[in-house]
Amino acid sequence: MATKSLLKRNNELANAKRQLDILDGGIFADGELPKFADKIKEIGHFPLRPKKLEILQINVGYMCNQVCEHCHVDAGPDRKEIMTVETMKQCIEVIKKTGAHTLDLTGGAPEMNPNFRWFVEEASKAGIKDFIVRSNLTIIRANKKYYDLPQFFKKHNVHVVSSMPHYTRGKTDKQRGDGVFDKSIKALQELNAVGYGMPDSDLKLDLVYNPSGAFLPGDQMALEKDFKKALMEDFEISFHNLFAITNLPVSRFLDYLIASENYEDYMYALVEAYNPSAVANVMCTNTISISWDGWLYDCDFNQMLGLKVANKIQHISEYNEAILNDRNILISQHCYGCTAGAGSSCQGTVA
């Protein structure tokens, strides 16, 4: 298992342009598989346009305590891109005025940003309905300074969304690193102890499931049932919902697909599983993604591919929701990941 980011390793896939060339080339360039644009033209959704903005997703930095093999952010301890207080203040101004009902903080491990707690305190005052922090769980056990995170989240009524690739140790550690499973279990128990994820609790705790390999997620409801049963029986852990999220061929997951000679089969699987009814609700139609340095994107994946919104407003410093909503969403073949089967988004299935 790698312990450094693609960027640190000088891997060519750390370059967004190279990734886009791969996604546009090969089996898509020679017509063996149809391009995503052609598929959505068939159902009159090209160009893809935003609907009402519902979610502001803010990436507060690419630094992370883990180096997961499937990470589309290429996050890790060696990534130094961290949102500054100045950019956070610009975000707070936007959060106060936005029509979005959900604020979604992500990373990296967002908690590793030195101003994370200040940002959460300020953002929670803005009165947004659903305030999500995507926590990788192990961060809660990584260092003493993070041990009180469950109480901190509770104090600010944060909705915790955490990654948990499987309810068995082997699969979890293979994807995310040795010891991740045991630390995650301990962190979940601590979240439960302060009330998170308990059956009638308002303190929301949801889990994210990403397949640990070159296959698509199965039925979200069936997986949720299996996870709930196993985590309760083995560890007395409760949680609310499971989001089954498809791995998109971006960054480290793209690198894995190519290195393991699974890329073509995986793209075939995504195209075969294309579900036209998922297109209308893909997350880029109701989300704006903001990077650590304040640039605006249609989604977190486009952020990692360096595809800034196609609009005259491109930075948080000049944010204007009405102007921003009048844009064409940028697409490439990675978008098939969000329309496969029951569809996929940061909130789980969409179809």
Binding site: H166, Y167, T168, K171, P211, G213, F215, L216, P217, G218, D219, A222, L223, D226, F227, D265, Y268, E272
Partner: protein, 111 residues
Amino acid sequence: MSKTYYDPADLRKFGKITEWSEELGTKFFDYYGKVFEEGALSAREKSLIALAVSHVVKCPYCIDAYTKDGLQKGITKEEMMEAVHAGAAIESGATLVHGVQMMKKYDKLSM
């Protein structure tokens, strides 16, 4: 033509059999799809049965397909291997139970 009887890329072309016999092909795939839906048995249980049978009929396409299907359904490798053994046990049992026929024939022919 490929130089081997089996080509992994043929699996994704399976649907093409309908092109040369639309009625039968369509009927087969409708039936196939229906069989693996959630029913009195869960889709998960059916996937494990399919994996066991795939080994018994020694179909490399089916083994590829149902290993992947099992992963998608969150089935563990321990469960998958037990299913393969269940199939193998029946297959070897089917061979061994013929031993009774052999024994009867032996006895009949012997003085």
